[in-house]
């Protein structure tokens, strides 16, 4: 048996202490150790984005990060997107626009879209398509997903739908894109 490690992190706003094997991915830890099964496994190679979570304000494929790397990080999963029984504006718009069919990719799209809006509350359609290009959907052809994010962005820009883990100050689109994609450093 591989020896387990204690990891302390903040997950969906709450301090969490967990045990995991060093070889377990963050996705595996979320799903199998913490029963947060909203993050989905589609590929385990970072190609489909179904496992996207937000780590310290950046979108990350949780299948590409080890659970032990979560130590000291602030992690938001799809389970942490709504505020109590009130849906996040993105969740509401995904429902109104019929943006999901099977729904397996939806958590990942929501988290990528949240990260975009956190950094750039006034994205163009091109910004949105660029920010969501790491998430695959096989059912919708993306049309209704993009429209939902455009609609949600309108609400966020109007101050209606901020996110509950702190609002990121408004930045230019290029700054925001650079921030979101990172500056070349590794996620630690």
């Amino acid at each position: 048996m591989v020896k387990k490690v204690i990891v302390e992190a903040t997950i969906n706003g709450d301090p969490v202490e967990l045990l995991c094997e060093p070889r377990q991915s963050l996705l595996e830890v979320l799903r199998d150790e913490l029963e947060l099964t909203g993050s989905k496994e589609g590929c385990l190679t970072g190609d489909c984005g179904a496992c996207t979570v937000i780590v310290d304000s950046r979108p990350v494929c949780s299948c590409l990060m080890l659970g032990v790397e979560a130590a000291g990080k602030n992690i938001t999963t799809v389970e942490g997107l709504a505020t109590g029984a009130t849906l996040h504006v993105l969740q509401q718009k995904f429902l109104e626009h019929a943006s999901l069919q099977c729904g397996i990719c939806t958590p990942g799209f929501l988290m990528s879209a949240k990260s975009l809006l956190d950094h750039n509350p006034t994205p163009t359609e091109a910004d949105i398509r660029y920010a969501l290009a790491g998430n695959l959907c096989r059912c919708t052809g993306y049309d209704k997903i993009v429209k939902a994010v455009i609609d949600a962005a309108k609400h966020v820009a109007d101050g209606v739908g901020t996110t509950h883990h702190g609002k990121v100050p408004r930045k230019s689109a290029s700054e925001a894109t650079r921030d979101m994609l990172g500056k070349g450093e590794e996620v630690k």
């Binding site: 589609g42 489909c48 179904a50 799809v78 429902l95 069919q101 099977c102 990719c105 096989r138």
Partner: protein, 765 residues
């Protein structure tokens, strides 16, 4: 935008309510198969063949069994040996010996990824370690990867027992079947033609590409009953196939439908489900198996690659007079490609007096193919719709006009079966002609516009539904149709319409195999059509009973009670107060007890589907990369129950068709090993690759269906490859005859054309 030909004044049908399962799916609460876990659960993994074609000389599992944490290791020796013959199983006949050998290889590995053994252990990592300890001795055989190679005389044979009718009982073969479809006299037909175009096409094997890998949790109880939680398109087909493969009576298996993360036809058979039960039976623990993406691509059913020759002739005024087609489809390792459907759809959109179609189902060392959205039709339409485009050009007729001149309509004979009833093909072509997209001008270099049409039969089959009236006047609708794309909302809307209920007072439920009558797969675009029909009938049954109760309350006859706009009222007024369902429901106990409406259908009179797709492309002359600038799809949807999800089907099918057209392809090396086993290299469209998708729903109701519903799920995938090919031709002058039209393939074709142009220019100098 919808052009309605239905005159009904519906209250709920045609609106766009939020789906009932939506909140769970945007909050991460919805439980898909891989999300289930149970106390004491073990994790299973499958060892797969690294070879395309090999005899399995021996499998040694002792070291794997000895690894701490490993609870069971199984091979095909642990499954009953089944008869090598076709048996009826749900939608189609199936050879159970082949099915069983696909779940665990028996004697021979027939493709890279073929399951050899399965392990159950206390963690998935230990199960993986155990796989590395299993020793398999193979004797390699030459792989047979293409239909051409497989059909050659003397080709290595995959299945020693395979025979076809033509070659007789003594000849070993890779050709599982030859079908022929004939009408009129093609030789005479081609004599009457002023223009004849004949082309040979190749299309690559492609995968459905659902984002959720296959999964199953099996729980075998000491009393001999088994429960399976899995993401499948058909719980009843999982039950019957597991029963056959495992030798457990159907009545002792319950299949619970998890939410399903896409299927597109690929989740209509079993891979992991029988293994989960087998491993659970041996260990006494629940066992969960989930495939990796590599396993999904290597070892579940993609759809056939194909070779298709298509020859069509037209008179100079643009009438099609003859068509001759030859189709050979890769079945994969075991017989059963959709080549029959390809043959029966290839020229069916057109009224052609003389046709001759030959179709071959060919086994090759690739995974056994499974259904993929209008299976067989997309390959076929790539061929016929490109040839139609070329003939229209030769005749000097606009391709849409050419289609209108030849379009199948009510009374036109189909390739097989009775003449068409009322269909909406012409309407889809007219809708494209009148669309803002078609009326817009496409300008700029390297750009082109293309159009193509598609046809798909759709199916009916069996469905069951119950409609429960609750004491607060709310309603639950129970069906056995797994919901992949919003069908639960459609079922609830149908019941709400019949009962005059608010859509939020109706709860749709997808039940397990013990809790609802037999229901066939969510496939064949049948769920809204057939299960919707059952729900309509069940709601009518509930309404009939409700009227009886109202009559009892009023001391009248049931026929003296009218129902409209949610209100029960006397047919002729005499002072009783009209009442609503909500007022009536609490009184049911006093008027005879609970009310359950129920209905089953074995739906006939299926309305076939047509779509026409218009695409603008821009081709990069230096790389061959194709950019989709604009796309519009017009489809006959019969009656759109929830238009947003109908549009979603049209958009999603179009996106898959574009992926098939431009990028998606199985790459096997010379040893028959799949080289692109991940989603980086098996390249599906992202949202950067696609534009906004415009949809035009044309509503031509299906005759005989109480709501005029027509299946909508499959046909939109059919036209895009040919539409894109025709657009590329207008952009570049190159006729692409091979899918995918990926940058290297298109670049090569453009360079060839340029070289031919240069040499012509040189000759002219």
């Amino acid at each position: 935008m919808a052009a309605s030909t239905n005159g009904h004044d519906y209250k709920v049908i045609g609106t766009r309510p939020i789906r009932h399962d939506g909140v769970d799916k945007v909050t991460g609460r919805a439980k898909y198969g891989a999300d289930y876990s149970f106390p004491g659960m073990l994790f299973g993994k499958v060892l797969r063949s690294p070879h395309a074609h090999a005899l399995i000389k021996s499998i040694k599992v002792d070291k794997a069994r000895a690894l701490p944490g490993v609870k069971a290791v199984v091979t095909s020796a642990d499954l009953p040996e089944l008869a090598d013959k076709m048996e009826a199983a749900g939608e189609q006949a199936i050879n159970l010996a082949h099915l069983s050998a696909n779940i665990l290889a028996r004697g021979k590995a027939l493709y890279d990824g073929h399951a050899i053994a399965a392990v159950a252990a206390t963690s998935s990592h230990i199960a993986e370690e155990a796989l590395r300890l299993i020793e398999v001795e193979y004797e390699l055989l030459p792989p047979v990867m293409s239909v051409e190679d497989a059909m050659k005389p003397g080709a290595p044979v995959l299945l020693p027992t395979l025979r076809n009718k033509e070659d007789g009982p003594d000849k070993e073969t890779n050709v599982a079947a030859h079908m022929q479809f004939k009408r009129g006299d093609v030789a005479e037909g081609f004599k009457a033609a002023d223009f004849v175009v004949e082309r040979e096409f190749k299309t690559a094997m492609v995968h459905q590409g659902y984002i959720e890998p296959h999964n199953a949790v099996g729980i075998y109880s000491a009393d001999g009953h088994a429960t399976i939680y899995c993401s499948t398109q058909g719980t009843f087909v999982v039950r019957s196939l597991c029963s056959a493969v495992l030798g457990i009576a159907e009545g002792k298996i319950k299949v619970v439908p998890a939410e399903i993360g896409g299927g597109f036809g690929g989740k209509t058979t079993v891979y992991l489900e029988p293994l989960s039960v087998l491993l659970s039976k041996i260990t006494g623990h629940p066992v969960k198996l989930v495939m990796t993406r590599g396993e999904v691509l290597r070892a579940t059913g993609p759809t056939s690659g194909s070779t298709i020759r298509c020859k069509m002739g037209a008179t100079k005024d643009g009438k099609l007079v003859a068509a001759q087609c030859w189709l050979a489809y890769e079945a994969g390792a075991y017989p059963g490609s959709p080549v029959g459907a390809g043959a029966m759809t290839i020229v069916t959109p057109y009224n052609i007096p003389n046709i001759l179609i030959d179709a071959y189902d060919v086994v090759v060392n690739r995974p056994k193919t499974a259904a993929y959205r209008a299976p067989g039709a997309t390959n076929a339409a790539m061929a016929s719709e490109t040839v139609v485009d070329e003939l229209a050009e030769k005749c000097g007729i606009d391709p849409l006009e050419f289609r209108l001149k030849n379009a199948s309509a009510e009374g036109t004979p189909q390739t097989v079966g009775p003449p068409f009833k009322r269909i909406g093909f012409v309407e889809t072509v007219e809708a494209i002609k009148n669309s803002p997209h078609y009326k817009s001008k496409l300008t700029g270099p390297n750009r082109g516009r293309g159009v193509a049409s598609g046809f798909w039969f759709n199916v009916g089959l069996q469905s069951s539904a119950t409609v429960n009236i609750h004491t607060d006047g709310t309603v639950s609708v129970v069906t056995g149709s797994v919901d992949i794309g919003g069908t639960r909302a459609a079922q609830a809307m149908i019941a709400a319409e019949v009962l005059g209920a608010d859509i939020n007072d109706v709860r749709p439920i997808v039940a397990d195999t013990d809790s609802i009558g037999h229901t066939d797969v969510t496939g064949g675009s049948r769920t809204a059509f057939a299960t919707g029909w059952a729900v309509y009938d069940a709601a009518q049954d509930a309404l009939r009973q409700l009227k009886e109760r109202v009559a009892k309350t009023w001391e009248k006859k049931p026929e003296e009670v009218a129902f409209a706009n949610g209100l029960f009222s006397p047919v002729s007024g005499n002072g009783v107060k009209p009442m609503t369902l909500k007022q009536l429901a609490p009184r049911l106990a006093r008027t005879g007890g609970p009310i359950v409406g129920r209905a089953t259908v074995n739906a006939r009179g299926v309305g076939p589907a047509f779509a026409t797709t218009l695409v603008d492309v821009e081709v990069d002359p230096d790389t061959g990369k194709v950019k989709i600038l604009r796309v519009t799809v017009a489809q006959d949807v019969g009656k759109a129950i929830h238009p947003a999800y109908v549009e979603g089907q049209m958009q999603g099918g179009t996106a898959q068709g574009i992926g098939w057209a431009l990028n998606e392809e199985y790459f096997y090396d010379e040893k028959g090993v799949l080289r692109n086993t991940g989603l980086l290299d098996y390249r599906m469209p992202t949202c950067l690759d696609l534009p906004e998708m415009e949809t035009i729903m044309v509503e031509v109701p299906t005759p005989g269906h109480p709501l005029g519903i027509r299946g909508v799920g499959e046909v939109p995938i059919v036209p895009p490859p040919a539409a894109v090919a025709n657009a590329i031709y207008r952009a570049t002058g190159v006729r692409m005859l091979e899918l995918p039209m990926s940058p290297p393939r298109l670049m090569k074709a453009m360079l060839k054309k340029r070289a031919a142009g240069d040499s012509q220019a040189a000759a002219a100098d």
